[in-house]
Symmetry: C2
């Protein structure tokens, strides 16, 4: 008789976005004339850049001719892309990352979710709180997280590292030593980052304790400050303790195109075993390569035209971020993030809960955001807005917030 | 201190294709003038059909314009594709499969590898022997397979169901009752199938014993005989015991485009838990949807032009299969498969091993195939050739085999 993976049954229902949808629907019915502005979801809105569209079209044409058709891609990615990434994303920044340490995939979400498989089920994980929920959820499914406490919203075997206004959103070294440390930098949802010096503390800590840092750098393209590293491999010592996840979703608008990659350095050894070889085996056994047309198109991300077009795209979103950041401050709110990331994280005013502020913002401004409590217990009392809307909507949303009766009191 | 997933260390090295490459390289160096014909790997060679290329191009164009840009796809797939599959692949064949029981993915290999996650680690698996190695390997990684015996090539907790010429390649019901039964029909590598009546035996057996059949139908488009079902859901009772994997790789040449889907019926319940909801949770947590452009292009697989173009493509490969099948029989070999599948499975002559025949075929004919022993212990003494080459190469390969000195003795 089949038994199911009972760890799945421990997962609390994920009602965040469905609750949002319900509330928005109810509001729309009651206010048929009012146009809602959605700054809730981290999905891009700008179309794929012309250089990338051209890359896709050329690759599609190749697939239609026998002489240039491409069947199965190499499991770990095409050499042309791995080599280009090694040169432009790493060597150009002084990182020691070779092409064969780069694993191309269908996206950072898959890699962030699957990476825990190569580790023992006894490993203890540490996560920033609040953070992208996939790190914890994928470990719940694997049975690493103990029991869930509904009151605190915490798992008994997870080490939470609160990132709040009080500590400047910089996680403190935990007292219990974790095995796997998830760092999302720039952080989703807080939009905050770590400087080179702050990250060095973590690299040293991991090396000293034999831990592994799982470094999610999906938002690195939005970094504007010089002392914030784009890759953990800019920090000395990272090659013996870190795995890095990167995405084309946010720097090139690939949320619906799907492409990402993971760097596992060959120097990263635990129990005498190369994590590089374990991940290669995982990739080779359960994945059949990313589409040729998408890998080919990604080359345009690194071409001069592509770079210039994407720089513009990111400036577009970061202008939105500035508008939200400054507008909300003018409205008297306490605001974080938005400088090295497309997320603005605000402290909910007046001691309200995240959900109470959600209702207020919807009812008084017709703006939809995401309650901070959806990202972890320490997200309670905060709220996320994203810069991924259109410029026009973003300006309008901020104007509406400024006019909210609650804030003008 | 991090511990690794030690189950990975139990996996024997996968030397099959690297050994083949080494032998082929050595042969090429010694015989510089001789052109090698490769009928070893199950990858397609015909270009993407014009209707699908057009679908891709249109979708790429949509992605380049703000009004028609698509960001994150729904995790489980676009409704337009799920609905079309439900109608054309299932309802048209009398199967009771609804759109929301279909999960779109980046390919059947991912799904076949990931499906075991939703089951308990104590589950015992049964596999046809020989078969596609992903089923066993993904369970080794999850710790379900016990210990490996190098002498027999078997794992202590895996139930092997030999499929050989002696039993007409029809697996017998195992004496020990498995929890998860992997069936690959039409089979890779033997190219053989199960009739509706033969499959019914398995469905009844699974329902009686509370087992789940994991049914890999990646090659269904090659079925030519009427009494061979294209889907397990054509068999009464399958909706309460089976999960089906389907691929666009072999019916539409998507090996390098990447798309597949999995059907998990809502009626499939174990321990009171819906496997449909478990798979939805897995998909939603660790996968971010298949590319819009690929899902859109897949619609052309179901259009009248697409269907007619793909029918031609499959006829092309199946003509190759017939040429190999008949040619090898004429050469005095015992041959199987090739009627409902693009694989020809031959009994190695003269008591040779699979690898001995590999060397003979390479040296006497300059033809590369795959040793049957690479697919499981009962594959020893057999050999796989694929119909995915070009027509010209296939004809030439068969002519060369017929002239092999060994076979003319």
């Amino acid at each position: 008789m089949v038994r199911v993976n009972e760890n799945y049954l421990k997962l609390p229902g994920s009602y965040l976005f469905s609750t949002i949808a319900k509330k928005v629907n109810a509001y729309t019915e009651e206010n048929p004339g009012k146009q809602i502005i959605r700054l809730g979801i981290g999905d891009v809105t700008q179309p794929i850049a012309p250089a990338i569209v051209e890359g896709l079209q050329q690759a599609v044409e190749e697939m239609g001719r026998a002489e240039t058709f491409h069947g199965y891609a190499p499991d770990l990615g095409y050499g042309f892309l791995r080599g280009t990434i090694a040169e432009q994303d790493y060597k150009a920044r002084g990182c020691s990352v070779e092409a064969d340490e780069i694993f191309i995939s269908d996206g950072a979400k898959s890699d962030c979710g699957n990476i825990q498989e190569i580790f023992h089920e006894s490993c203890r994980i540490a996560v920033c709180d609040p953070v992208y929920p996939v790190y914890v959820d994928s470990n719940v499914m694997a049975g690493r997280t103990g029991e869930y406490d509904e009151k605190t919203g915490k798992w008994s075997r997870v080490i939470y590292m609160p990132c709040t206004a009080e500590n400047g959103f910089v996680p403190e070294l935990p007292t219990e030593i974790p095995d796997l440390i998830y760092l999302c930098v720039p952080n989703n949802p807080t939009g905050t980052t770590l400087t080179r010096d702050q990250l060095k503390v973590w690299v040293d800590y991991a090396n000293e304790n034999g831990a592994v840092i799982l470094y999610d750098a999906a938002y690195e393209a939005y970094i504007s400050e010089d002392d914030v590293p784009h890759s953990i491999f800019e920090v000395e010592g990272a090659n013996t303790c870190a795995i890095e996840f990167r995405s084309f979703s946010k720097n090139a608008g690939f949320t619906g195109v799907r492409l990402g990659f993971t760097v596992v350095p060959k120097e990263l050894i635990r129990q005498g075993v190369s994590l590089h070889s374990l991940w290669a085996r995982r990739h080779g056994t359960k994945f059949n390569g990313a589409p040729y047309i998408v890998q080919k198109a990604a080359m345009a991300v690194y071409s001069p035209e592509g770079k210039s077009q994407l720089k513009e795209q990111i400036s577009y979103y970061m202008r939105n971020a500035r508008i939200i950041y400054e507008g909300l401050r003018e409205a008297g709110l306490e605001v974080f993030g938005g400088i090295n990331a497309p997320y603005i994280w605000l402290k909910v005013p007046g001691g309200m809960s995240s959900w109470e502020f959600f209702d207020l913002l919807l009812n008084e401004a017709g703006v939809v955001g995401t309650p901070g409590s959806g990202f972890g217990p320490s997200g309670e009392g905060y709220f996320r807005l994203t810069a991924f809307g259109t410029y026009e909507n973003t300006v309008e949303a901020v104007e509406r917030v400024k006019k909210m009766p609650y804030l003008r009191k």
